[in-house]
Symmetry: C2
Subunit: 328 residues, 2 copies
């Protein structure tokens, strides 16, 4: 076998040439060739070039993404709310009292204005009634069952097809370059974990979000984790960097968000000792998606825009920067 | 280049033969060839054999390890307490009031009996005074500075050399077989993250533990995470499976612990739909380490031993199963 050892370097060289012949396709095909795309590619090339001053070791290539309005759409309202409303309707038979109790009565009548009138308190009741009181496994199954038939009210597409194609390409481009991609969302962590691994190629343990308190109980001899009707973490604003520190213990070198709820995460990322990138998605396309910022309650974007300029973030102008918004 | 494509299968075959010639060394060399070692190897071989009924896909190969008493020693007291006491002494100059205030007065006099008398309340004061009121970075630096000179009171070794050699080998054996190894400890998560990545080969984001509350503050224009003097999570007993569910979102297929504080984690692991393994380390070796179980406050082991028998866990008898306890 010793002869082989002499040949091995030659063989490896040949194989590496062969793979040059099959060079990877151009990254980010759904992005227009604007400054934003060029800066993303430049950032990735510099971070992964061991000869560069701005090289980042693989262990520190942490990239964090907001979800609603950053990876998938969030209009007319956060998609998780449609799940919550559907669950209320499904459980109504076991709760005859809901017929006369707000906000449930409005939900059952399909009166969204009535739901809105119940305010944050009403919303919390809807979330708790639909998201808690069952085991982790039961909740996971209920999200998956809903996804199979639920459709977006405007596009009539499955919600998991309301994902932004350019952002999918960005996730995969970073993953291919050994960045560890995380979701750090205000959405419910267990809601996202039911579908996001398949849709984004991000494993459950890299999905962080808001959570409810849980309890470990042995029920009929079977250890079970029960979901309690109390908020554990509301993963928004300054909580995002705190969640990152608690879960990951490393500062991101790349972060993407789209609202003031992401301001602190992006700001925190820019304090990395490495050269880092903060990407702020600006919803500017009322034809292909929605156009909104400071006047929108959902995806409210006001303070982060001027800070982006001051702190050298990259702003994605959806209309200008994206060739395509959703996959065909 | 096309000719190369014809040769490629042959080349790959030759290279794979070459690597057969350098077959990996026998796993777990510091374990005696007892039933425990054989069962670990059998479990790993079956879990990673795609032809086996008990094959586990890579994404689900989650292995969780307690730290104190499982990966490193915990006698005479948890090593983190020595760090806390050293910090109190270091900070004493800025706290003249500690000279007369318990439990600090006893700490400064080196009177451990006096510290004990202050009970859980006193202990909490020592932990808070030594672990909070600074930024994440400052805390990390203080742990690293302490580790450089601190020595175990009996062995006079650095604390990071009080790690169990057989458990290091087990961690690496699982890692080599694509298990994602986590620490799930009652110890402070940020204390462990300062040294455990290097010592165990486990990245920070796979180290989970107890934590204090934190606050995001912009101080003199610099975003900072400050450590507050309030417990966030006490990661013990039933909290361990809850932490696993919150952080990982998957049930472990392998878990190791040594005390009743690990009971629920091991029990939870055995409910996996995959064939799973729960390993309970029993401290039986008063010559090479310490022998203790139900009569010890630290590493208290009473309820978990009979459950291990009933629920088909594997019990490690340190004296019988380990050829060597610490590295030379």
């Amino acid at each position: 076998m010793n002869l082989l050892r002499y040949f091995l370097p030659v063989l490896l060289l040949l194989i590496s040439h062969l793979s040059f012949a099959n060079s990877p396709p151009e990254p980010l095909p759904s992005w227009n060739d604007t400054a934003t795309k060029q800066q993303i590619i430049k950032f990735v090339q510099h971070s992964t070039d061991s000869q560069s001053d701005t090289f980042i070791p693989v262990a520190d290539r942490i990239a964090t993404f907001d979800n609603d309005g950053t990876l998938w759409a969030e209009k007319p309202v956060y998609f998780q709310l449609y799940f919550a409303l559907a669950q209320i309707k499904e459980k109504a038979a076991q709760h005859p009292e809901w017929k006369t109790q707000e906000p449930f009565a409005s939900v059952l009548k399909g009166d969204l204005e009535g739901v809105k009138k119940s305010g944050m308190e009403g919303l919390l009741k809807i979330v708790m009634a639909s998201h808690t009181g069952m085991s982790s496994e039961q909740f996971d199954a209920s999200v998956n069952a809903w996804l199979k038939t639920a459709r977006h009210p405007d596009s009539q597409r499955p919600f998991t097809e309301m994902v932004y194609q350019p952002m999918l390409e960005l996730l995969h481009y970073l993953q291919q370059n050994d960045f560890k991609t995380y979701i750090v969302s205000g959405g419910g962590v267990d809601f996202m974990r039911a579908w996001a691994p398949e849709v984004y190629g991000i494993p459950k343990e890299q999905i962080l979000g808001s959570s409810v308190k849980t309890e470990y109980k042995v029920i009929d001899g079977k250890p079970t984790i029960m979901r309690l009707s109390e908020i554990n973490v509301n993963n928004d604003k300054a909580q995002k960097p705190l969640t990152i520190q608690t879960y990951i213990g490393k500062k991101p070198v790349f972060a993407a968000g789209n609202s003031d709820g992401d301001l602190e995460m992006l700001q925190w990322t820019k304090t990395s000792p490495y050269s880092s990138m903060a990407l702020l998605i600006h919803h500017t396309d009322d034809k292909r998606e929605w156009a909104y910022d400071k006047d929108s309650a959902i995806g409210h974007l006001e303070k982060a825009l001027p800070l982006a300029q001051k702190d050298n973030w990259n702003v994605v102008d959806m209309k200008q920067d994206w060739k395509q918004v959703f996959a065909d």
